[in-house]
């Protein structure tokens, strides 16, 4: 005879697992005697287990979602740092590239400016020289334009080219191509002999060629030099001496002949008695210099750097010359440099930079000033 009904308060305690194990076993035994009560209890247990599964699924969703969020947050924060790092790298590379391009552009402008100067300087030189030429006498003009004494080019005071050349840093990489200008490859070497912390600026005068003037025995060469100086020593006149050759004999042949050459080394006046070996000796004895003017901030004294020799010309870089009115003399065994009105010993030591020492010897000074 079943004694339990659906309103028995123990059913709730059993379903809520609030009974002890012994009480629960006794309750089950009693409840099974009433199929209606037992079916009700089983259905209730079925629903409760379903609710627990729903609760478990909900908690699993919560865990999965929170872990996903954390992973995404980690990923996002990591991405932010990567983005920041990548942005910085891109900026750095961009700045580097920009700087490099500006640098190259500056150098390119410098080269173009030089080329422009080389190509256009004749025109501007002629424009500037026009009044000078009109003032000078005809013979001087002829002498200056003659093969024996080529007219130095005067560089126009072009602001753009000036800026470009001032901004252009000197670097061997930029000058990797030897091009036609031997002075370029010397720039890097020039740097070696100078204080690299100083600001180095090229002067807006293209490299020019100067031939040494022999003073050992030939008065004619001095006359020609004087003419040359008269033509080109105007204040602020910047020039390029393509070639100025009035060569005479080297010391060993003094007095035996007088030979003038043009830029190609062809004799234009020679002693008919001169022998082939003599001619060769004269060519060897005539030194030509390719001069580049540069400035270095913080240094006021003129310095000279002797680079290598190319195409028979010795590369010289003159630092802080203060003038483009430059002549080189060969007297005795020494070479002398005239910068404006000042005379200096010209040491010819390849690969080295040296301060120019003023000539103090009066006898030499007088000879040079003649």
């Amino acid at each position: 005879m079943p004694t339990m009904n659906l309103n028995d308060p123990r059913i709730e305690s059993y379903l809520n697992e609030e009974m002890s194990e012994v009480d629960a076993q006794n309750f089950e035994r009693e409840a099974k005697e009433s199929p209606e009560v037992w079916d009700h209890i089983q259905f209730q247990q079925f629903m409760i287990q379903g609710i627990r599964e729903e609760g478990a699924a909900e908690l699993k969703d919560f865990i999965a979602n929170r872990i996903t969020e954390e992973v995404e947050d980690d990923f996002t924060s990591r991405n932010i740092w990567w983005s920041v790092a990548a942005t910085l790298i891109i900026l750095a590379v961009g700045l580097g590239v920009t700087y490099k391009f500006q640098w190259l552009d500056g150098e390119a402008k410098s080269v173009v400016a030089k080329n422009d100067v080389n190509q256009g300087s004749e025109k501007s030189a002629l424009q500037k020289l026009e009044p000078q030429l009109s003032e000078s006498d005809e013979s001087k003009s002829k002498s200056a334009t003659a093969d024996t004494f080529l007219m130095p080019e005067i560089i126009a005071d072009n602001e753009e080219s000036s800026d470009a050349m001032v901004e252009a840093p000197m670097n061997e990489d930029v000058y990797a191509s030897p091009l036609k200008d031997d002075a370029r490859s010397d720039r890097g070497r020039q740097m070696d002999g100078l204080d690299k912390n100083k600001e180095i600026r090229s002067v807006n005068v293209a490299p020019f060629i100067v031939s040494a003037i022999e003073l050992n025995s030939n008065p004619r060469s001095k006359v020609a030099v004087a003419e040359n100086k008269a033509e080109n020593s105007k204040p602020n006149a910047k020039r390029k001496m393509e070639s100025s050759i009035l060569s005479d004999t080297i010391a060993g042949y003094t007095g035996k002949s007088r030979v003038a050459q043009n830029a190609e080394g062809d004799e234009i006046s020679s002693n008919s008695n001169s022998s082939p070996s003599f001619k060769k000796a004269k060519l060897e004895g005539t030194k030509q210099f390719l001069i580049t003017l540069s400035e270095q901030s913080g240094i006021t004294k003129p310095q000279v750097f002797m680079g290598g020799q190319a195409n028979g010309k010795i590369n010289l870089t003159l630092w802080n010359a203060g003038t483009s009115d430059i002549l080189i003399f060969h007297l005795g065994d020494e070479y002398y440099l005239q910068l404006g009105n000042d005379f200096y010993y010209l040491p010819l030591i390849p690969g080295s930079t040296a301060n120019l020492k003023p000539v103090a010897d009066r006898a030499i000074l007088e000879k040079l000033k003649q």
Partner: protein, 192 residues
């Protein structure tokens, strides 16, 4: 509780308080250990995630039961749950593959024999309940919260009101199920 660390005590206390966030900390802490066990026993990454989640859910349910006492280190306890969970999962897969190495008697004696019933019916029926009813039922039967807490969480006046509401919600769920399903639907088809 000689083997229990101070940290374990704090974790159990947080679970008692109903702080679900503690499960996230545990997930990160034991992920490697439990995943390695699953990987070493023919499991893959998804299996490892499932086992981790099931283990934490089981921990939550067990700790929230009245009179729960942690007698070993939490890591040991968790690892035991994880191993058991993965073993059950492997057994289930083998049964589905037809590897009927578990005898009918073993199934009958198994405490999981109730899993033969289709509880998805109840879960589907719960979708038809009001949110408050659903919350009250889950908080009471799954989380094991007392009526006072349930009342506070659901904006009810008192524990007795919450108890009456719970009874009403359970009756509502029963009505939905009986209205939509017959008794034969409550059992899974185990012939396959």
């Amino acid at each position: 509780m000689p083997n229990q660390t101070r940290k374990d005590t704090e974790i159990v206390a947080r679970i008692h308080e109903g702080d679900r966030e503690v499960l996230i900390d545990l997930y990160k802490q034991y992920e490697a250990m439990i995943s390695n066990h699953v990987f070493q026993n023919s499991g893959n990454e998804d299996d490892a995630k499932d086992v981790l989640q099931d283990t934490l859910v089981a921990l939550w349910q067990n700790v929230r039961k009245p009179h729960f006492e942690l007698t070993v280190q939490l890591s040991t306890y968790l690892f035991a749950i994880a191993k058991n969970t993965w073993l059950k999962q492997l057994d289930k897969r083998k049964r589905l593959k037809g590897e009927n190495y578990i005898t009918g008697r073993e199934i009958a004696d198994s405490p999981n024999v109730g899993q033969q019933m289709d509880y998805s019916i109840v879960r589907k029926a719960m979708e038809s309940l009001q949110d408050k009813c659903r919350n009250i039922l889950i908080m009471f039967y799954f989380d094991g919260f007392d009526m006072k807490t349930i009342a506070a969480a659901n904006g009810l006046a008192s524990a007795s009101v919450a108890k009456a509401k719970k009874h009403q919600c359970l009756k509502g769920l029963e009505g939905i199920i009986k209205q939509n399903y017959s008794a034969s639907d409550f059992y899974l088809n185990t012939e396959s």
